[in-house]
Every structure is written in C-alpha cells, then in structure tokens.
Symmetry: C2
Subunit: 149 residues, 2 copies
C-alpha cells in the first residue's frame, strides 16, 4: 500500500522494519546516505548474508557524515556516478519484490525535519522499472568504466 | 503505468504533455521549481481556468531562477513552509485523478543532467494519500498562520 510517512522516528522505524525483512537481496540507489541507524541496518543485513549493492552520488558520498565509507569498510559493494549531474534517485528494492521510493534521502535531517514522502510498492508492475534502472546504472557505473583515475 | 523517465528533452515533453491534460485542478508540491518550460505550462493552465495551487520550500523559492515569483505574478496561489526543515516533496496531482511523483525537482539541471525517476499513477489508492497530504500542507501553510512577519 502507498504510505507517505509522517515525520520523525516513527518513519524511521517503519523504514527500518521494511528493510530488515530482506532475506536475499537489497539494492539501494540513493543520492545521500548519512543516517547511522539505516547504515547500521544495512551492515546487519550484509552480515546476515543478504547480497547488498549500493549506487550513490559521487559528489555527496565523500562528505562528512556520509555512511558510504563505513559501508565499504564492511565489505559492501558501492558504485557511484562519474557525471556532472546528480545521481538523484532515492529508492531501495528488497528481495526483488518490494520497492521503497519517494523524495526521502536517508539522512537524519530529512527523516527528522523535512516534509517528505515514501512509497512502498509490491506490485511487479511498479517494481520492475526500478529493478531495470538499478541494473542499468550498476553496469554503467562499473569501476572498469571509470575514466578519472 | 509506472515510468521512470530517461534523461533530457524527451522526459520534459512527457511531463509537459501529462500536465497539459489538466482540465479542472492542478496541485503542485515542489521543493524546487525553476524550469521555464514547466512554469510556462502552469501559467497556461491557469489562464485556461484550471485551479492551480502550489506549495513550495521557503528557502528555495527566492533563489535566482525560481519560477515562483512569475507564477505569483500571474495570479497563481503559492504557499510555502516556514520550518527549518525542507518542504522536500516533488509531486503534482492532475484533476484529482493522476499523481506525478518521484525524485525530480522541476529544474533544468535535474531534467537535463541528473539521474532521476518519475512515477505516474492513476490508481485512486495511490492518488489519495498525496491529495490528503497536499490538503494538510495547504492548510498548515495558510498565510494566516505565518508568524515571521
């Protein structure tokens, strides 16, 4: 069901509990990821054996507070754009069956202070375009294609 | 149907053509609105008699390139948050029947250079929560409640 979330901790709890249902795969495609709680949940899933893949934005990922370094340190694969534009998506796909998308970046600022929406959809019709986009981006951002080293 | 849009002009054309189907009402709830083409389309709908209402973010609306001043000048009602957090939604509702939402702000930068998604949904089940959120915000941001004058 669609559920624009209200502010604050309740939203965070709902997002955490959705993510923690992952048993096999988790694809994350996020402009900004700095929430320690969400970072912790993703590392937990990785330790449980869930295959986690993350795509993020190159400009944002190195900023202070970003979780990306900690996620890489934990052994999670992360790829990023190398474009001047932003990788501005904000979605995650759980077990190829549920897409979580909307306006929300995974930051404490956004969760606690912003007016945001989060859509949770399990219809294959809605999940598939996000899966396809994730696989397209994942290949496009394959490090063997990076040119700036 | 759900349709994450590809980059560029094709996406802009599709978004414009969806908006221009409006016959009665258009609710817009956008963090950033600076695209001249989209501003133009919204003013056209206003001149045709469509009831347009816009909610936007207070920090962004006065920046150079923002369309908000021009839209107000045309007589369109605009309300904004007065919070420290961002009004970060990016959705529009056409004739109370179709919601257009996703990661896309209505800026030329985002349309041309970013990796974004736009969902277009006509199921009442998906439209209603956005309509409800719009009405809630619209009342909350009623200028009679502003405290900073």
């Amino acid at each position: 069901c669609p559920c624009p979330l209200p502010h604050g901790d309740c939203s965070l709890s709902r997002l955490l509990s959705l993510l923690l249902t992952a048993r096999r795969t988790l694809e994350i495609c996020l402009f900004a990821f700095s929430s320690p709680q969400l970072g912790c949940a993703v590392r937990l899933l990785h330790r449980r054996g869930v295959r986690v893949r993350i795509v993020t934005d190159a400009q944002y990922m190195g900023l202070q507070g970003s979780q990306i370094g900690l996620l890489r340190l934990a052994g999670i694969q992360v790829r990023h754009d190398q474009e001047s534009g932003y990788m501005h998506h904000k979605f995650a796909i759980v077990d190829r069956r549920m897409v979580i998308t909307g306006s929300l970046n995974w930051t404490t600022q956004a969760i606690q202070n912003n007016r945001e929406n989060v859509l949770v959809m399990e219809d294959a019709e809605y999940v598939k375009p996000f899966l396809d986009e994730f696989e397209r981006i994942w290949e496009e951002y394959n490090p063997i294609n990076y040119t700036f080293f």
